[in-house]
């Protein structure tokens, strides 16, 4: 029964990614035709669409690379989301774990994030600094910012871990967990693989 479920999911993923690949090729072909005909604005529009297709495909692939659970909290598959935007916002990839708001949010290819990363790396501006609730940690060699966000109703703290690289920011929100579990979870994410895809 479980096997059947997995096979259906895999088939569905293949169909979805196949459709996107087709869309990409169609958009590039449309861009070429428009460009050859001197319709520059149309060619540009088609390329924007092709770019969004790539963002969607990459986002879906990144979702498959994220750990299936966070400290015992299972993935909420229905909440998996990839949004491709053109311009300043970039693409966003979202995954929820459990029911307490624990999640991973990735914003990629955004110039806004590139500026934010500069900010995060400036201790003077309150970026990579240490105080009673914030400290700088290294996750697989990436300098990151870990912030303790107070206790929840179970008396366990929540954490937010921000891992900036290139024009990408990974934000892990982990509720009702200890620091070690947050770090263990972050270390399960194949950051090098994700960085190579973006």
């Amino acid at each position: 029964m479980i096997m059947k479920k997995y096979i259906s999911i895999i088939i569905l993923l293949l169909i979805v990614s196949g459709a996107s690949a087709q869309d990409f090729s169609n958009q590039v072909a449309a861009a070429k035709t428009a460009y050859a005909g001197g319709k520059l604005a149309d060619a540009h529009f088609s390329l924007e669409q092709a770019l969004q297709e790539i963002d969607m495909i990459v986002g879906k692939e990144i979702l498959t690379l994220l750990p299936a659970s966070m400290n015992g909290k299972a993935t909420v598959t229905n909440d998996d989301q990839v949004t491709a935007n053109v311009g300043f916002i970039g693409a966003t990839i979202h995954r929820s774990y459990g029911t307490d708001g624990s999640q991973v949010e990735i914003i990629s290819n955004s110039p806004m994030i590139a500026s934010l990363n500069t900010f995060l790396n400036m201790p003077v501006l309150g970026g990579m600094m240490r105080n009673s609730t914030t400290k700088v940690v290294k996750i697989q060699g990436f300098k990151s910012r870990l912030e303790k966000q107070g206790d929840n109703e179970n008396g366990k703290p929540g954490y937010q871990l921000q891992i900036p690289f290139k024009s990408t920011l990974i934000t892990i929100t982990a509720n009702a967990m200890d620091e070690k579990s947050v770090m263990d979870f972050a270390n399960q994410i194949p950051l090098d693989k994700i960085a190579a895809m973006l």
Binding site: A21, V28, L40, H44, L47, V58, V86
Partner: protein
């Protein structure tokens, strides 16, 4: 008698003060010189005295970039595919900018275009921030700058302004420094500032904006006459705006 005494006293005081200032400034200069020499020895930072600059390269080859994107995509190298698509987009934007500049008038009233100041700026982040600029000048102090931009945020803000009925403003006196007008049938905004002169902004379609900055123009009529030398419909058509 008193007057004479006062004049004499002033003269003496002035001479003394001048002498003192002279001594201080000369010793101050000496000190500065020493400091300069010392800092020069200590820091020894070479300063650039010129270079050839960068070579003017052609914009990215759009067809080649699109082919590269397709190849990288087939090989599932999405990062490279993305990069090539962005290069193709930059190439198109620069061509589009040049096309726009070609279609702008060579002179506006008595102002001649300064082609050395022609600018087409594009970046890898897609449509946003494509900026095309041309300056017209009489060689003295009168100048018109036209900037055609594709900036979603900026255009959105101006459109919000037009959507707000309360933004028909007056400062309560007899003069206004901003008002809504129509330029060739398009809603527009004209502002005046003593320091900056006149500015006319016309949002085009969904994401583009064209702005004229007019320095040392006599009045609003002269500004409008100059602005109407530009065919907004042609600009819209090239930018693919409705």
């Amino acid at each position: 008698m008193l007057k004479k005494l006062k004049e004499k006293a002033n003269k003496t005081v002035n001479e003394m003060v001048d002498k003192k200032i002279g001594n201080e400034s000369s010793s101050g200069n000496a000190g500065e010189q020493n400091n300069t020499i010392n800092s020069g020895n200590v820091s020894n930072h070479p300063t650039n005295r010129g270079g050839g600059g960068l070579k003017n390269t052609a914009p990215p080859d759009v067809n080649a970039a699109m082919d590269d994107a397709a190849k990288s995509f087939s090989a599932k190298d999405y990062s490279d595919a993305r990069y090539s698509l962005q290069q193709a987009m930059v190439g198109i934007e620069i061509q589009l900018g040049r096309e726009l500049l070609k279609n702008l008038p060579g002179s506006v009233d008595n102002l001649q275009k300064d082609s050395l100041e022609d600018k087409v700026m594009s970046n890898q982040w897609g449509w946003s921030n494509l900026t095309i600029q041309r300056i017209y000048s009489d060689g003295k102090d009168k100048q018109l700058t036209i900037t055609i931009g594709n900036n979603l945020l900026y255009t959105g803000l101006i459109n919000a302004y037009f959507g707000n009925v309360y933004s028909v403003q007056s400062n309560g006196e007899n003069e206004q420094n901003a008002k809504q007008i129509k330029v060739q049938g398009n809603k527009a905004l004209i502002t005046y500032d003593d320091a900056k002169g006149y500015t006319v902004i016309v949002p085009l379609g969904q994401t583009s904006t064209v702005a004229w900055e007019c320095i040392n123009f006599k009045d609003e009529d002269e500004v409008m006459k100059a602005v109407n030398n530009f065919k907004i419909d042609d600009i819209k058509k090239l930018l693919g705006e409705k």
